[in-house]
Amino acid sequence: MSDKKRKKLTPVQQEYQTFARAREPGRPVLFNCLKAFLVGGGICFLGQGVQDFFLWNFDFTEKTAGDPTVAVMVLLAVILTVAGVYDHIAQWAGAGTAVPVTGFANSMAASAMEHRTEGFVLGVGGKMFKLAGSVIVFGVFAAFIIGLLKTGIAMLGGF
């Protein structure tokens, strides 16, 4: 916990938190990082393979092959989510499966599935972006700012 948060606690609370933290199970940070690296990298490797498949076997360029590749990765993630397997992989892999676009697809599919019981409009439709919504909002906003900066710098004679 950060120091700022800790300072808001009374001395008794701080003492307790230290006491409690000493009794938590240790986390194998290095091993977790390795798992995340391997799975995250593995997914990207698979994505690269899919892109190459489209490049070699169809009439795509490097740029346009990205579209069917993303579609295939999204489909894979959704199938694994629906099969109830994605979350088990994620529990093992950690951050490795959170990489877009598979993590994004999983979050939307999982939310949509969960809220089917509340109907299609308010449930599936309304709650589908429960987790992905903030990614979209901040992604678009960041893109907007970067776009402004790029245009501004270009207008001033920069790159």
Partner: protein, 337 residues
């Protein structure tokens, strides 16, 4: 009758006529499967939603308890129920089916003992006969409400716990053939500033210690007066913290009589549960099933159950609040010599 600061002593010793416990597929694979009255192989219980499944489980537990006591729904005078769902819909809808005068409770995972304490008070003070108290929890319904969608790929830390899919109900009356409820200590809300919803054990341990200490102080008893002292759902982390806190501040509870329902309900071969079981159904199913069976057999003579609850909501967590917790203790004695 009140004794000390926050404890009720039940002079008339209400009897637990019958209890019933219903569980889900995960609980069926656990070490206490034999102590369940009914186990379901399907998390949905054939219903349209997790919430409806939880309601069905609580109904089944209540109806089974009434049946085991040889009574009918009409004989029940009061029903005290609570659960983890928003607006405690599982209990309210189960109460609709039972058509019994209903008192809804919310104590998070401490609801089982909150209900038992109040039900005992009603019976002991002659304010009612045949009082039913019950609670339930459902893994998927709880995950959906408190954390992330069930199929979402987030990694849970080793301190996280697994909400038990189970419902437990107990039926009390003035006299009868069954274990007797002898006292109850009502806990106060304790908040040690822990704000991680994936570490409930760490948040709840101080509340358990506070209530246990109050119980011993109010009644002038010691840990050794009991054959078993079980907390509701502290899990591996919370149990360790509570045990060490008690050793540090006295009264220490000997390891052989101190246990936790969250540790009992699942086995070592179920690593998905991480730190252990949690939820209203955890303490209810272990106490009203396994522990009640041991009391009925005479294996245990006096037990103290300390159900622990974390009183947070998904909103309070998002608003950067810490997790206030509570623990209620109830002592039960076997009627076997």
């Amino acid at each position: 009758m009140q004794q000390g600061h926050q404890t009720w002593v039940f002079q008339n010793k209400p009897a637990i006529l019958a209890t019933a416990v219903v569980g889900g597929p995960f609980e069926a694979e656990g070490p206490l499967a034999e102590d369940f009255d009914l186990l379901h192989g399907d998390l949905w219980l054939g219903q349209d939603s997790y919430e409806k499944a939880e309601k069905k489980m609580l109904e089944e537990a209540c109806e089974a308890a009434i049946r085991k006591a040889g009574l009918q729904k009409q004989d029940i005078q009061f029903f005290l129920g609570g659960d983890l769902m928003n607006q405690i819909i599982s209990s309210s809808f189960a109460a609709r089916t039972l058509a019994v005068p209903f008192l809804g409770l919310y104590g998070a995972c401490s609801t089982s003992m909150e209900g038992l304490a109040l039900a005992s008070l009603i019976v002991d003070s002659r304010a009612g006969r045949n009082v039913l108290c019950g609670t339930s929890s459902h893994n998927s319904a709880a995950e959906k409400q408190y954390r992330y969608p069930t199929e979402y790929g987030s990694q849970k830390p080793p301190t996280a716990q697994w909400t038990v899919t189970a419902a437990g109900a107990a039926l009390l009356d003035r006299e009868g053939d069954g274990p007797k409820v002898t006292s109850a200590t009502i806990g106060r809300v304790v908040d040690m500033g822990v704000s991680d919803p994936f570490n409930m054990g760490g948040a709840m341990a101080p509340a358990a210690v506070d209530t246990i200490t109050a119980h011993f102080r109010d009644l002038g008893v010691a840990a050794r007066d009991y054959d078993l002292i079980a907390t509701g759902d502290l899990g591996k982390v919370g149990y360790k913290i509570a045990r060490d806190l008690l050793k540090k501040h006295n009264p220490a509870i000997p390891d052989e009589i101190f246990t936790d329902c969250g540790l009992l309900i699942y086995g070592e071969d179920q690593p998905a549960v991480l730190a252990g079981g949690s939820g209203c159904g955890c303490s209810a199913s272990v106490v009203y099933g396994h522990i009640m069976n041991r009391l009925n057999k005479g294996e245990l003579k006096k037990v103290l159950i300390v159900a622990t609850g974390a009183l947070l909501s998904p909103l309070s967590y998002q608003q950067k609040e810490s997790i206030p917790c509570i623990a209620h203790a109830v002592s039960i004695e076997s009627n076997k010599p």
